[in-house]
């Protein structure tokens, strides 16, 4: 403990949604938990997110969407990661995601979906337990 490499997280906002309170709060909580966080800023396309993730050599991608566009952007990110042969980045999602959409998102490889009211500590714990690199 303590000598481990820090977990690197890409906090990402795919699509045109401007609601960034959640992702920024989460980013602060992950940093407080000792992780390194890179924030993409708004309006990222799935390919920009995947490129940044690879360039920055992150262990985790945490994406947030509150506009309802998760049904397009989340699977697209997973598809592009697969295309690039990346299979060891842990990808999680959050925002306003209807329960009935979750099975399909998990099917395409999103490890977990965190909805409104999530305790940030739960996200920290989940990442620590499931991170595949490091």
């Amino acid at each position: 403990m303590g000598h481990e490499k820090k977990i690197r997280v890409l906090a990402a906002k795919p699509g045109l949604d401007g609601h960034d309170r959640g992702i920024k709060v989460l980013a602060s909580a992950l940093m407080d938990a000792g992780m390194e966080v890179i924030y993409t800023g708004l309006r990222q396309t799935p390919s920009q997110i995947v490129e940044t993730a690879i360039q920055e050599d992150v262990d985790v991608i945490a994406m947030s969407i509150l506009s309802g566009a998760h049904d397009y952007h989340f699977p697209k990110v997973m598809e592009l990661l697969k295309e690039k042969g990346v299979d060891d980045i842990l990808v999680i999602g959050g925002g306003i995601i209807p329960d009935e959409d979750i099975p399909a998102l998990k099917e395409c490889g999103i490890a977990e979906i965190f909805g409104p009211g999530t305790n940030t500590q739960d996200v920290v714990d989940f990442i620590r337990k499931n991170v595949r690199r490091s």
Binding site: G15, L16, D17, G18, H19, D20, R21, K24, V25, A27, S28, A29, M31, V37, Y39, T40, G41, L42, R43, T45, S67, G68, A69, D71, Y72, H73, K76, I96, P98, D99, E100, G115, P116, G117, N119, T120, Q121
Partner: protein, 559 residues
């Protein structure tokens, strides 16, 4: 007995009483060692006449519709007419949104409020690459005047007032509205409504910016000046604290950052050569109704007093209408919980009541299911009924500013005023709101408050009923309202058809004229209106402006 004697009598009696209470505290301690509201204002155990000096009444409170407007902007307030009940709505296609508007008007709603989808808000047509996955999701997709004609079909624009949540491309949507009205035989000077048109809070809090600050401010002042001449009843901007609060600010920050933005707009318009008393009466505001009931009531009152003082003293406004904050309120979306969503009905009712007791001019009440999805028709109806209950059943609308004179509310009003004024001073020293946004100061302040709030919830210091206490196992509801992804396909087909049937030569001409104006200094509204009428699309018009003005590049630093 003199006033001074009375005060010292009360002061002595209060001391005695406090000593007695301190004794009792040893056995019966209070719930917390200290009580502080979200703005960090300490809340006393008891407020007394010592907290509000009646000799300040005329200066600080005055009378409704008189400076400094603390008590409201109309002389009779809701005894004359209730606030406008205005539910923000719109999704999918213009056809579907038009149906929802007619439903709301039939239900007794008194004004329309249009929600546009994100591609529209960011100036992309539905067939743009960036629009994939977003068309029709959070609002209605508008690509051209054609869609706007459908949106308002059968709705007489001389009878309703319409609020449009549109910022960066506000000039284009306003032009479309004017054009639809003309088709209905309604003249621009008859139109009543509001465009949000508040770009500064987009940079700091809401995210639907297109152009950099400088050309954005020019578009805004062009709209002020055009409307003063041609659309005189239109509210040319809705300076919005709502989204600043949703992004996580405190009540004090909401007032301070909103009014600082307001100051920036007024300064921009004055330096563009406009007369303050000509455009300022059409400035409107938009606030959040959050959870802390009395803090919210005090917030609206403090904001009115502070803006009036700024307009009078800083900008030398003479027309009382230039000094008035007329505002819309929406209950706080960020306080809605996905857990036990029925509880949201009650949250919304309390929040709405605070807005009414704070003297709002119009109100949107959120629907109970909005932490889950787009609101269902039933949920929207309950939300609207909540306002109608407040208006028609509770009696709170029967006198003006009923909480005035409450020692607590007056002390809070003063505390919020003082702290917001402090912040504005700080922002002035930084060079104003634009500079404070460009350096990231405002964003950081909001972020810090948001994180603090979340930590309070996670430590259990702040209780969210149903989330960190009083939870029950529950199944999340299914059968939620969702937008069919086929909306994008149908919009794209409409665009294709439009581009075949319109006179493309005229379109190109109008866009060239717009480009020339944008490169020069003329008012942008007339060429935009011409372009809209040739059925140039929103994306084409914004595309020309993007070419000339460039795009805003935000900084993405955290903390």
């Amino acid at each position: 007995m003199s006033h001074g004697d009375k005060t010292s009598d009360i002061s002595k009696a209060l001391d005695n009483w406090s000593k007695g209470v301190e004794e009792k505290l040893k056995k019966y301690p209070e719930r917390k060692p200290e009580f502080v509201n979200t703005s960090g204002i300490p809340i006393k155990r008891l407020y007394t006449p010592l907290d509000f000096h009646e000799d300040e009444y005329l200066d600080k409170l005055g009378f409704p519709a008189e400076f400094p407007f603390t008590r409201g902007v109309q002389p009779t307030m809701y005894r004359g007419r209730y606030w406008t009940m205005r539910q923000y709505a719109g999704f999918a296609t213009a056809e579907e949104s038009n149906r929802r508007y007619r439903f709301l008007l039939e239900q007794g709603q008194t004004g329309l409020s249009v929600a546009f989808d994100l591609p529209t808000q960011i100036g992309y047509d539905s067939d743009h690459e960036m629009a994939i996955g977003e068309v029709g999701k959070v609002g209605v997709a508008i690509d051209s005047l054609k869609d706007m004609e459908t949106l308002f079909e059968g709705i007489p624009l001389d009878k309703v007032s319409t609020s449009m949540t549109i910022n960066a491309p506000a000039a284009v949507l306003l032009a479309m509205y004017i054009a639809v009205a003309e088709q209905q035989g309604v003249r621009p000077e008859q139109l009543r409504g509001t465009i949000q048109n508040d770009i500064l809070k987009e940079y700091s809090s809401r995210g639907t910016y297109i152009f950099p600050p400088k050309p954005s401010m020019r578009i805004i002042t062009d709209i002020f000046s055009y409307c003063a001449e041609n659309v005189p009843l239109w509210n040319t901007i809705s300076i919005s604290g709502y989204h600043i609060r949703e992004a996580g600010s405190t009540a004090v920050q909401e007032v301070a950052f909103t009014l600082a933005n307001g100051i920036a707009y007024v300064e921009a318009a004055i330096s563009a050569g406009l007369d303050v008393d000509k455009f300022a009466p059409r400035l409107s505001f938009f606030f959040n109704a959050h959870l802390d009931f009395f803090e919210e009531v005090a917030k609206y009152r403090a904001a009115r007093r502070l803006w009036a003082t700024i307009m009078k003293e800083r900008f030398g406004a003479k027309n009382p209408r230039s000094m008035m904050i007329r505002f819309h309120t929406q209950t706080a979306g960020c306080t809605l919980t996905a857990q036990q969503p029925m509880n949201n009905i009650v949250r919304v009712a309390f929040q709405a009541l605070s807005a009414v007791l704070g003297g709002t001019q119009s109100l949107h009440t959120n629907s109970m299911d909005e932490a889950l999805c787009l609101p269902s028709e039933e949920a929207v109806q309950v939300a609207l009924r909540t306002q109608q209950l407040i208006a028609y059943e509770t009696g709170v609308a029967d006198t003006v500013d009923p909480l005035a004179g409450s020692y607590y509310v007056e002390a809070l009003t003063k505390a919020i005023y003082d702290r917001a004024e402090e912040y504005i001073k700080k922002i002035d020293e930084m060079g104003g709101a634009v500079a404070a946004i460009e350096t990231g100061f405002i964003q950081r302040e909001i972020q810090d408050s948001a994180y603090r709030y979340q930590k309070e919830i996670e430590s259990g210091e702040r209780i969210v009923v149903g989330v960190n206490r009083f939870q029950v196992p529950e199944e999340k509801p299914t059968d939620l309202l969702r937008v069919d992804p086929a909306v994008r396909i149908s919009q794209i087909k409409k665009l294709e058809a439009l581009k075949k049937e319109r006179d493309n030569h005229r379109v190109a001409e109008s866009l060239a004229k717009l480009k020339k104006t944008a490169e020069g200094e003329g008012n942008l509204m007339p060429p935009i209106l011409d372009a809209v009428k040739t059925y140039a699309t929103l994306g084409e018009i914004c595309g020309v402006l993007r070419e000339v003005f460039g795009e805003y590049q935000p900084s993405t630093t955290l903390g």
